[in-house]
């Protein structure tokens, strides 16, 4: 099943419980039918949108502005550079480190998943355990 179909299915599943919602803030990531990366972000009752980057949870306020600048290339004047998967992983490590410093609920470790046509790989990165 393709990622856009799963995205729609998740939205419908969440809306079934519109009046006693799942208290879950979801992010769905995958490859679409053209092989391009797809990220869908949801609210608790199934409203969803495809976007280039997103973050939810307790540390979202610390991470989203960084992604706006680095991934979305907002508020900067230098030339836009295309980022590879390994570069994005390194950016995520720094971002989660910073979020973990300020947010008490974020820490211990981060699991970083890279999804490509070849498959899914996972890397675990340790954060501060305080």
């Amino acid at each position: 099943m393709t990622t856009p179909s799963i995205a729609q299915l998740l939205s419908n599943t969440l809306y079934y419980k519109r009046f006693f919602p799942y208290y879950a803030f979801n992010l769905l990531a995958g490859l679409d039918e053209q092989g391009e990366g797809a990220v869908y972000s949801y609210d608790a009752i199934g409203s969803f949108e495809r976007c280039q980057y997103s973050s939810t949870g307790s540390g979202q306020a610390y991470i989203i502005p960084v992604l706006d600048n680095v991934i979305g290339h907002r508020n900067r004047l230098d030339e836009r550079v295309e980022l590879s998967a390994t570069e994005v992983v390194e950016i995520f490590k720094d971002t989660f480190l910073s979020a973990g410093e300020r947010d008490i609920y974020t820490g211990d470790a981060v699991e970083l998943y890279v999804i490509t046509a070849a498959g899914v790989t996972m890397e675990r990165f340790a954060l501060k355990a305080d």
Binding site: N12, Y23, T56, F92
Partner: protein, 133 residues
């Protein structure tokens, strides 16, 4: 009506459902009775926030999704090593923060829905149609 028990204690047979109804002050014991209504569980919330952060980025031919592994409740850490990520298919990965029990149930239910959907739609070209779901 008093009833003598073999051990020698006297047990007040209660005509109400609660065995603690012998206490005359009904505001201390559930069901709490007030002038307006009868409240079964005072201050109970079915939701708990178990914390955590997830983030994802889409590229031209890749996707990166990350989630921390801390599970907390209030100011306590319940676990340092609980995954927030779940893989649905070869290419689709879900990461969720919020109430862990709701997340687990949602995953479980989504897994079932996916299987049912694939049984019904295996002969269709996949697109954004998930009728009748």
């Amino acid at each position: 009506m008093n009833k003598a028990v073999a051990s020698g204690y006297v047990v007040h047979a209660s005509t109400e459902g609660s065995t603690l109804a012998q206490f005359s002050d009904s505001s201390l014991v559930p069901p709490y009775t007030t002038a307006a209504a009868t409240i079964e569980h005072r201050g109970f919330s079915p939701y708990d926030f178990n914390g955590g952060t997830v983030a994802a980025v889409a590229g031209p031919d890749y996707c990166v999704i990350a989630a921390d592994t801390r599970l907390s409740s209030g100011y306590e850490i319940l676990s340092r090593n609980v995954t927030k990520v779940h893989q649905f298919t070869d290419t689709a990965v879900l990461a969720s923060s919020g109430c862990k029990t709701d997340v687990d149930q949602l995953r479980s239910w989504m897994g079932i829905q996916l299987k049912v959907c694939m049984v019904w739609h295996k002969s269709l070209l996949d697109s954004r149609c998930v009728f009748p779901f």
